[in-house]
């Protein structure tokens, strides 16, 4: 029965989107996305179960949505996110927002950043997005 618990969070392509999100944000050091084979291999080793690149591609594209709990835990481990990303709607949404912010920072022109005396909460994420936007506008003005 425990194996079926994972299925609840997988309805309506939500699971596919979550997995895809991880691939898009958490990349290789050179900026390329991890390959399905690379991730599948790590998951095979972590679980000791079969876990093929094709199976992973099917999960990522919503062609299958019935992974076991252990498979999702292995995926979470590979991408270094808390397993709650898959199993807890509320925390999953928070983690997704934080992944977005990291992705935006990485893709921005910002190379380095230091903040002073921060007490950042949820609104802090907005501030950082304001900063990224402001920089992008200014760089675009200069760039032309």
């Amino acid at each position: 029965m425990a194996e079926d618990a994972a299925a609840e969070s997988t309805a309506d392509g939500v699971l596919a989107e979550k997995i895809d999100h991880l691939f898009r944000v958490v990349r290789r050091p050179n900026g390329d996305q991890h390959s399905h084979e690379e991730v599948a291999k790590a998951c095979r080793e972590a679980t000791g179960e079969s876990f093929s690149a094709t199976y992973l591609w099917q999960l990522r594209t919503g062609r299958r949505d019935n992974p076991t709990k252990r498979h999702l835990e292995a995926l979470a481990e590979f991408f270094q996110v808390p397993p709650a990303y898959f199993f807890d709607d509320e925390r999953g949404a928070e983690i997704a927002r934080e992944l977005d912010l990291l992705g935006a920072l990485r893709n921005s022109e910002v190379r380095r950043m230091a903040l002073r005396a921060v007490n950042l909460s949820e609104e802090g994420l907005g501030t950082v997005n304001d900063i990224i936007d402001a920089i992008e506008r200014r760089e675009a003005q200069r760039g032309t």
Binding site: L102, L115, E123
Partner: protein
């Protein structure tokens, strides 16, 4: 520990000692002069106020250094924020890292510092750099206010509170 702090203090004093401060001190002129010396624009940008806005942010791109400062605070506090962030620039703190561990803990509390580094591809940022930037701000503003004190009327009220400090 103590000798490290002493080394920090000496290094910071040396950097500040080599600066030519505008007299009377004017933060805008100071920033312009530093930008010209560094051959890199320094842009000052007001941060829209939100709850829990950080009071200052230094961000560097390939083209320029940006200093963001809180809009909803006193002119004196803004000046202090700007000089603190300039301290990060002049003490060479903006090296390889995008954000420090404390920032990532605040911005992305659900994600591990390891993941943040993996995505952003840099290493961590130290508390010591914050101390050095703060020391830099104190030393620069101390010098600036002593200069103001010599020309009463130019510096504003704050010079009255400067008192006698060993300099």
């Amino acid at each position: 520990m103590r000798s490290r702090r002493f080394a920090l203090w000496r290094r910071c004093r040396r950097i500040v000692g080599e600066l030519v401060l505008p007299d009377p001190f004017d933060i805008g002129v100071f920033v312009e002069t530093l930008a010209a010396q560094r051959g890199r624009p320094i842009e000052l940008v007001e941060l829209p106020s939100r709850p829990a806005t950080p009071c200052g942010v230094l961000a560097a791109t390939d083209r320029a250094d940006y200093i963001f400062y809180a809009a909803d605070t006193s002119a004196l506090h803004q000046e202090h924020i700007l000089v603190h962030e300039l301290g990060h620039l002049l003490c060479g703190h903006v090296g390889d890292e995008v954000v420090d561990d404390a920032i990532s803990a605040a911005l992305t509390p659900n994600l591990s510092p390891e993941l943040v580094r993996r995505v952003l591809g840099r290493t961590s940022y130290s508390e010591e750099k914050e101390q050095e930037a703060e020391l830099f701000a104190s030393l620069v503003l101390h010098r600036a206010r002593r200069a103001r004190h010599r020309f009463p009327g130019l510096g504003g009220l704050e010079s009255i509170f400067e008192g006698r400090r060993e300099g």
